[in-house]
């Protein structure tokens, strides 16, 4: 059942709390990369867009969500845990030996994970494969893929973009988490891919650009994407890396805060800022 706008907003904040708590407990991981993606992930899983059955995770007619930017695994685990794919308190085992909640998603160990990712650039091709499988099997499931903005440097993304357009895959949506940073600095400095939506459009995709940390805009974008016919959709999601704890990251003098957990001493402040 789709949650209301207010419920989704509240859930997004609880997903944020899960992300910072589990990465601080793990002592490593990528909280800032996870936080930028929260609204889209929450909306997809709880806003009535993704059809899934936690009791039957491999249900052939389910919609697919592929986290191509696999280092943002904590946001995926938070929504999967809240959705009931596994006991929610298991999020605190993140990255520990024996836990199926590995540093990067492993589809062989955790129900609900559609793809084993962590080597950037590969998720969109997998998405094209799922979308083609739906066509072959005459099924109406939809495939969502989320990539990073730095990730768009990988040539494979554009090979996939060309093939999705060739096959007019209107059952495929890519969400580009445009948080303006990658590992070594600002995406605009490392490899400026602007205009990202213009590039997808040039490949034959339907595109939209919107504020990806605004739940209302996110819901509109996902509805529109489902209505597009004859073309795959690219949603350029303009976000902030570390959304929810930006004040704290400013104080810590690291806007990117890539690939490191909050120190235990900063956790309370982060949770208070998330609210």
């Amino acid at each position: 059942m789709a949650e209301s706008l207010e419920e989704l907003r509240a859930r997004a904040q609880s997903v944020r709390r899960d992300i910072v708590r589990m990465t601080t407990e793990a002592g490593s991981g990528h909280p800032s990369s996870s936080l930028s993606a929260v609204e889209f992930m929450t909306a997809i899983y709880f806003g009535g867009f993704l059809r899934y059955d936690v009791k039957n995770p491999h249900w052939p007619d389910r919609d697919r969500f592929i986290l191509s930017k696999g280092h943002a695994a904590p946001v995926l685990y938070a929504v999967l845990g809240q959705a009931g794919f596994f006991p929610h308190d298991q999020i605190m085992t993140l990255r520990k030996l024996g836990s199926p909640l590995e540093g990067h998603p492993n589809m062989t160990r955790l129900a609900g994970v559609e793809a084993s990712t962590g080597s950037l650039g590969q998720g969109l091709s997998l998405g094209v494969g799922h979308a083609l499988a739906a066509r072959v099997d005459k099924k109406d499931f939809h495939t969502y893929v989320m990539t990073g903005d730095g990730e768009l440097g990988e040539g494979q993304v554009w090979e996939a973009a060309a093939s999705a357009a060739k096959y007019k895959l209107d059952n495929l949506t890519v969400i580009v988490d445009r948080n303006h940073f990658q590992q070594t600095g600002a995406s605009e400095d490392v490899l400026d891919m602007d205009p990202i939506d213009g590039k997808f459009a040039a490949f034959g995709w339907h595109t939209q650009a919107l504020q990806g940390n605004d739940m209302e805009e996110v819901l509109i974008a996902l509805k529109r994407a489902r209505a597009v016919k004859g073309q795959p959709t690219c949603i350029l999601s303009l976000t902030r890396k570390g959304q929810g704890i930006l004040k704290l990251l400013t104080k810590l003098k690291d806007e990117n805060y890539h690939g490191k957990p909050l120190a235990p001493k900063d956790l309370d402040e982060a949770l208070a800022e998330i609210g």
Partner: protein, 324 residues
Amino acid sequence: MAGASSSVATKREIGKATRDAFGRTLEALGADYPDLVVVDADVSNSTRTEWFGKKFPDRFFNIGIAESNLVGIAGGLASSGKMSLVSSFAAFITCNAYDQLRMSVAYPHLNVKIVGSHAGISIGEDGASQMGIEDVSLACSLPGFVVIVPADEESAKAATKAMLDHKGPVYLRVGRPDVPKVYAAGPAPFAIGKANQLRDGSSVTLIANGLMVAPCLDAAEALAGEGINARVLDMHTVKPIDRDALRKAAVETGAIVVAEEHLAHGGLGSVVAMNVAELKPVPIRYVNLGDQFGESGSPDALIEKFGMTAAKVAAAAREAIAAK
């Protein structure tokens, strides 16, 4: 055989990570190699090429997350007369860019240095996708490539210099965590293709590289208590392999253990077995990662779980001796 045992560290202390030693050496030597151009793919703060980059910004490029392009650019730079050095995680630079390594570097035999960091399971929590466990096998399968796996801080420094002095393609594998010192402070003995004998012995030879050299020394110490004299070789160069050292190991000790933080297939163990089978067949036992991916966990927990330990090496040595 190069390498005097006097250069071996007497105490087991933790030294710098091999990636750090590589990064500092590159930074220090940059001025001596004016033709050197370094290119990285958005991981220079992990591979440590950023230290060179800060000092020599005109000879450093960060091309974004694009490993195939990275290796292709290295080929172009080298074809145009530069010595190019490119780095990323071992998993990405070998697996993601393999055809570029083959066609744009190995086939034209260009003067390109490939540095793969975050090798093995000892990276810890990030898990399998980030762990290069097949990189040595892949690099050895590139005709004309030299393949080097240094054991510690001092040997990584020496290996970095040797790599820059070698003309032709080289793959250098370095690791993420701080690792025990094998060599005493000061320049470690290092010649490409020459094993370093760290300890002499007559009952068995323990052959290792990278992370596994220190456990082999510890295993030799433990075995000595049982009256087993183990020879220990740091086989830092997997290709070209030191056949002379292998022949002597087989003839003089009659049993061999090969230990490496790599898959069973195609790594140091395979190369040793292929050569020993031809030179002088003797029983060989292996300590490696087998045929499986890594997983998340703390480095120490994974080292234990995957058996990258002195105890496993010692057990393998007893088996090899029993099979004589």
